[in-house]
Every structure is written in structure tokens, then in C-alpha cells.
């Protein structure tokens, strides 16, 4: 029995070797194979949720043992922040309205007030050399392949595979990722490619003579029609000009907290229908302001 077993071992090994090669070639070449991968991913989804559970539990425990003082401080802080943000939003809505009308004058399409949803990262970076993460939203939440994902501080990456309940996020540091960017200071366009997990981005094909300096901020240019316009990508940290070469090495460190954020925004490009909604929101806010002003005036009158 054992003798037989070891005799067939070589044959069996050869069989699985060939099978592996077939599967690898199919997976690399053939996109139809994605459905098999998707099915396997769905089967693995419970594992990913299970692994996330102890993390969620410790977070909940932490939340529970916050002292009252801490909560009060945090609350005051958040209220202040909220007030500031509200003030800013009013300004932005006014600007957006102006922008829309200007764009209408120029007869160009407008993209305003886009649709976003918050997603939770499950099992971030399972493997140290693959810059990917799992999101807790999938096909059921209308996530699609190629969808941009944003963090609180900048662009995180894009969705590369969608399962029923989970999806896979490729971070901008992945070697297969490239983000079209624009230098905020000079308006120079470039492409930021990833160089691997935990490593900075690199701007490719930047001419030696280009106007770029350490500390420049680059944000998405919207070219390539994948990432939305104007979201921060990174800060230029070093520029090395190599004598005799046409392009310089530009290193950009991402502004997004790629390995610390646990909540990210999924971004949907929207159609013109959203513009109407923006206008109605603006009207409502202006109405509220008017009411407030009226009340203040009345109060002042009563007092006087």
C-alpha cells in the first residue's frame, strides 16, 4: 500500500504541476476566469469577517471604557469641527452653484456633488508585498470594478475585484497602480505609479527641466476618467536629477493613511441629475439662513 502510494506520488505531483500552470495562464490571460475567482472569494468571505471580529470587539470595548471627561472633550471638539465644516459647506455650495452656471455658459458637462458611501476595511494587507485590502461592501452594494476609493486624507486606490459581499481594493502603492495627477502649484501633469506596499509612489516621465519642487502637492487630474478630479494624492518628498538622463526620479509620499484608515469612501461618478439636488439643497440652506437672519433681526428689534 505504502509502496504503491509513493510510486504514484510522482505522477500525481506532475499532474498538479501542470494543472497549476494551466490555472495560472488562464487566470492571467482570460478574464472569464474572474467568475471562478469570484465564487472562491465569496466562499472565503466568512473567514474575512471572522478575522475582523476580534478587532471590532476590541474597538467596541475601547469605546465602552472611555471616561466621561474624554467623551465631553471629544464632543466639544467635534461640535466645533462640525460648526466649521458647516460654514465651509455653505461657502462650497455657493461656489458650486457659481461653477455650474459658469460651466453651463461654457457648455461643458459638470460633475457636482457625487455619490459616496462609507466602507469598512476587512483584513488590511494580508500579505506584506501585495498592496491590497478587502472591503466589506460588494456587488450587493453596487460596488463595481474600477471604482475609485478615497480616504479621509487622500486617494486610497481602486476596486479591482467584486464579490457578492466583499470586494478587493488595490492601493495606489501597488506596482500595478497608476494615478494621473497634476501638480497643484504649477499645473504640470504626471502619472504616479506605485512601487510596492509600504513604499512611496514615483512620478514617471517627469522631464529634467520640469518645474517641480520638494513639498509640492499632487492631486488627481481626472484624466483617465477613473479617479475624480482634485483629490490629494501625495506630497513630493525628493527629486533626483540624473545627469545624462532625460527624466528625473520624483518620489511622492501618499497623503492618505493607507495602512491606518479603517474606513474609506466608495465613490460613484454621477450624472447631471445630481445637479438639481445640489441646487435644491442650496435653496434650502439659503432659506434657513434667511429665517435665522429674520429671527435675529426680530430679537434685536424686541430688545431695542
Amino acid at each position: 500500500m505504502l509502496f504503491n502510494n509513493s510510486q504514484y506520488l510522482g505522477i500525481r505531483f506532475t499532474f498538479f504541476l501542470i494543472l497549476s500552470i494551466i490555472v495560472m495562464v488562464m487566470d492571467h490571460r482570460n478574464h472569464q476566469f474572474g467568475t471562478i475567482r469570484g465564487m472562491l472569494s465569496d466562499a472565503m468571505a466568512p473567514l474575512q469577517y471572522t478575522v475582523n471580529w476580534p478587532m471590532a470587539l476590541t474597538q467596541r470595548l475601547k469605546d465602552n471604557v472611555h471616561s466621561k471627561h474624554e467623551l465631553v472633550t471629544e464632543n466639544t471638539h467635534l461640535k466645533m469641527q462640525n460648526l466649521l465644516l458647516k460654514a465651509k459647506v455653505q461657502n462650497i455650495l455657493a461656489l458650486q452653484k457659481e461653477n455650474t452656471s459658469l460651466r453651463a455658459l461654457l457648455k461643458s458637462s459638470s460633475q457636482i456633488l457625487d455619490h459616496v458611501a462609507v466602507a469598512q476595511l476587512l483584513a488590511i494587507n494580508m500579505d506584506a508585498y501585495i498592496a491590497q485590502a478587502i472591503l466589506d461592501k460588494g456587488k450587493d452594494d453596487k460596488v463595481y470594478v474600477g471604482q475609485p476609493v478615497l480616504g479621509a486624507n487622500g486617494v486610497m486606490g481602486q476596486v479591482i475585484q467584486v464579490g457578492r459581499w466583499t470586494s478587493r481594493l488595490m492601493l495606489i502603492t501597488d506596482t500595478r497602480s497608476a494615478v494621473p495627477v497634476v501638480n497643484d502649484r504649477t499645473g504640470m501633469r504626471a502619472i504616479a505609479v506605485g512601487t510596492g506596499a509600504f513604499r512611496p509612489l514615483s512620478l514617471i516621465n517627469v522631464p529634467d527641466t520640469a518645474d517641480i519642487a520638494v513639498g509640492d502637492r499632487v492631486s488627481t487630474s481626472g484624466l483617465g476618467l477613473l479617479y475624480p478630479v482634485g483629490y490629494p494624492v501625495g506630497i513630493v518628498t525628493s527629486i533626483r536629477k540624473k545627469p545624462g538622463e532625460q527624466f528625473s526620479d520624483v518620489v511622492v509620499s501618499p497623503t492618505a493613511h493607507l495602512y491606518r484608515d479603517t474606513q474609506v469612501l466608495l465613490y460613484w461618478h454621477t450624472k447631471a441629475g445630481m445637479v438639481d439636488e445640489a441646487a435644491s439643497q442650496l435653496k434650502q440652506m439659503q432659506q434657513e439662513d434667511k429665517n435665522m437672519n429674520q429671527q435675529i433681526i426680530e430679537r434685536v428689534r424686541d430688545g431695542g
Binding site: N5, V51, N125, Y129
Partner: protein, 163 residues
């Protein structure tokens, strides 16, 4: 004995594999990631050496495929490496069983090194080659946790009479 015992044995073996996969994707602080031992591979080596009639190249290949799915690697990459290690372990399980614990650790480190090497080459073909020396660290950590894996799995095997 019979069907019932077979089913129960397989259930327990597969449960340990599920646990190994959980350890494979368990979130850890960034600096610790490179230290993560190849848990699934260690579990596969143990079961092949302990019960070569139950766990073989086919089972190992399937576990490798699941590791591919979890890691987001090209399908078949880890599967091939798992099959390679399974083949070597199945071929040498008698010597492996007889050797002392430190000799076992050395064998395990060789298995893991071959596994990492094969994946390194395959990653190179698909273009996502890891650029740091830290990539090879799991050889060491896997070797160091092997006695623990061995003792725990042996206890499980004896306790539940997995045959």
C-alpha cells in the same frame, strides 16, 4: 472504524486548515507582517507527515488555491508551491517522523525556503516581485513556530483519535 470515523477525522483535519487560513489573514501591525509564519504550509506539512493516506498533494493543492484567493495572488501560484512541498513531504515522511525535533525544524525551514523561492520566481513572471530581503523572513519564523504547531496538532490528533 468505517465511514463514520473517516468522516470525523476529515472534519477535524479540515477544521485545523480553516484555523490555519484564519491565521494567514489575521490583521497584524505593519512591522509584524513580515514575521508572519507560513501557517497553512506548516499545517499541511504536519498532516502529510502524520497521516499521508489522508492528506496528500491534492488536498495541499486546494489549500494553496485558497491561499491564492485570500492573498489576491495569481490563481495557481501558491497552489503550485503547496503541491511541491506536499510532494517532498510525502516522499520523505518516514525519515521526517524519525528525526529529532531540531532536525525537523531544519527540514521545515528547507521546505519553506523552497516554497518561498518558487513563489518568488512565479511573482517575478507576473511582475509583482517583492523588493526587500524581509521577504525571506518567514523561513526563520516558520522554523521557530514549528515545534508549537507540531505539539498542538499532535495533541489534537491524539485527543480526537484522528486516523
Amino acid at each position: 472504524m468505517g465511514v463514520n470515523s473517516t468522516g470525523r477525522s476529515l472534519t477535524i483535519i479540515y477544521l485545523t486548515f480553516v484555523f490555519a487560513l484564519l491565521l494567514t489573514i489575521f490583521p497584524m501591525p505593519t512591522w509584524l507582517l513580515w514575521f508572519r509564519p507560513e501557517w497553512a504550509l506548516l499545517f499541511v506539512i504536519y498532516w502529510i507527515v502524520a497521516l499521508p493516506n489522508r492528506v496528500g498533494i491534492a488536498t495541499s493543492w486546494c489549500i494553496g488555491l485558497l491561499v491564492d484567493v485570500l492573498n489576491g495572488a495569481t490563481l495557481g501560484e501558491h497552489a503550485m508551491a503547496f503541491a511541491l512541498v506536499a510532494y517532498l513531504a510525502a516522499k520523505s515522511f518516514r525519515q521526517f517522523r524519525m528525526s529529532a525535533w531540531w532536525q525537523q525544524m531544519i527540514s521545515v525551514s528547507i521546505f519553506v525556503a523552497l516554497y518561498q523561492l518558487l513563489i518568488f520566481f512565479l511573482e517575478g513572471i507576473t511582475g509583482t516581485i517583492p523588493k526587500t530581503v524581509l521577504y525571506w523572513l518567514p523561513i526563520l519564523t516558520s522554523m521557530l513556530v514549528w515545534p508549537l504547531v507540531f505539539i498542538v496538532l499532535r495533541r489534537i490528533r491524539r485527543r480526537y483519535q484522528v486516523t
